[in-house]
Amino acid sequence: MGEVIVITSGKGGVGKTTCTASLGTGFALMGKRTVIVDADIGLRNLDVVMGLENRIVYDLVDVAEGHCRLKQALVKDKRFENLYLLPAAQTRDKTAITPEQMTEIAQQLAEDFDYVLIDCPAGIEGGFKNAIAGADRAVVVTNPEMSSVRDADRIVGLLESEGKANPLLIINRLRPHMVNKGDMMTVDDICDILAIKLIGIIPEDEYIIIATNKGEPAVLNDDKLVGKAYRNIVRRLMGEEIEFLDLDAPTGFFGKLKRAFGV
């Protein structure tokens, strides 16, 4: 039996889909049979981030309504041995599926895959309830910014009331420069407020947009700190103990020189 992990956040635009794409790809790179599920019915995007938008035939709602078998709806990512996508329907809405159907699909997938990653829609209504229904574990993504931390706190409360205790935290789009200036909440501040276990810190990087432009999850980039940050999260989710990256690490000659002088 594989593990079903839902990636959620409450607020939109904090990086759920980008995280799901990169973490899913990361699991596949580690040799795990992985399926990523887009639960954002009506606003699907995981296919775009993965570069698989032209390969979709059936979707999640087709499976739920019995128009096709589950296996038929899975899009195989040809770049990786072990990676599949179950896309959301684009022309339907959140009411097209029930939490029970979602649980059933997640369970069926968990029989065949090591990791089932569910990309949760923003908000706290039906779509959220569907997405978390079949999950064993929840990962909450937040940005170091007031409104997204507030929404994350609400999500943590809702997850607990739905019986999904101990969610894990990813702090996305951290800007070390702003933290150093005292103008951004620190990782410790956010952990202190949300009081859940931290599993990853991802720096802000323009490369995320480039990666999405290309349809290549950022985890694939070996040169970028973001790629490494995602790979570390994957390994932590697999149970490894890995130190958090030093996001302040200077790059280039002048960076190192500056650091040597403590500025």
Binding site: K181, G182, M184, D192
Partner: protein, 111 residues
């Protein structure tokens, strides 16, 4: 915070560090969020508290604040009310209560 920042602070001592402002605002915001207190209930609480104070003090109605605060993991309900003066007839009211209490006690002892 790095050394450069300390130097910048020295040059511009009044510059606010908004990161900690955000943290503090969030903390008190979340106390209310988590306690599930609606603004209506908050107003009711405020009205009741004010009624109690009004028994003893003359208050400045315009300058009152009742809010939840967060102080290192404890929730504190703070009321900030500006008092114009203490009412003069409080003593009389209290001693009447005292007398009632004594009388009741005496009755109880008789039985």
């Amino acid at each position: 915070m790095d050394i450069l920042q300390v130097f910048k602070d020295w040059l511009a001592p009044n510059k606010e560090h908004t990161g900690s402002t955000a943290k503090n605002r969030l903390k008190s915001m979340l106390v209310i969020d988590r306690s599930n207190v609606s603004p209506e209930l908050m107003n009711d609480i405020k009205d009741d508290i004010i009624k109690v104070y009004q028994k003893y003090f003359e208050l400045n109605d315009e300058d009152m604040e009742v809010k939840f605060d967060n102080n290192q993991n404890t929730v504190i309900l703070t009321t900030s009310i500006s008092v114009l003066r203490v009412k003069r007839n409080i003593d009389a009211a209290n001693s009447k209560d005292d007398n009632d209490y004594k009388r009741n006690n005496a009755n109880r002892q008789k039985r």
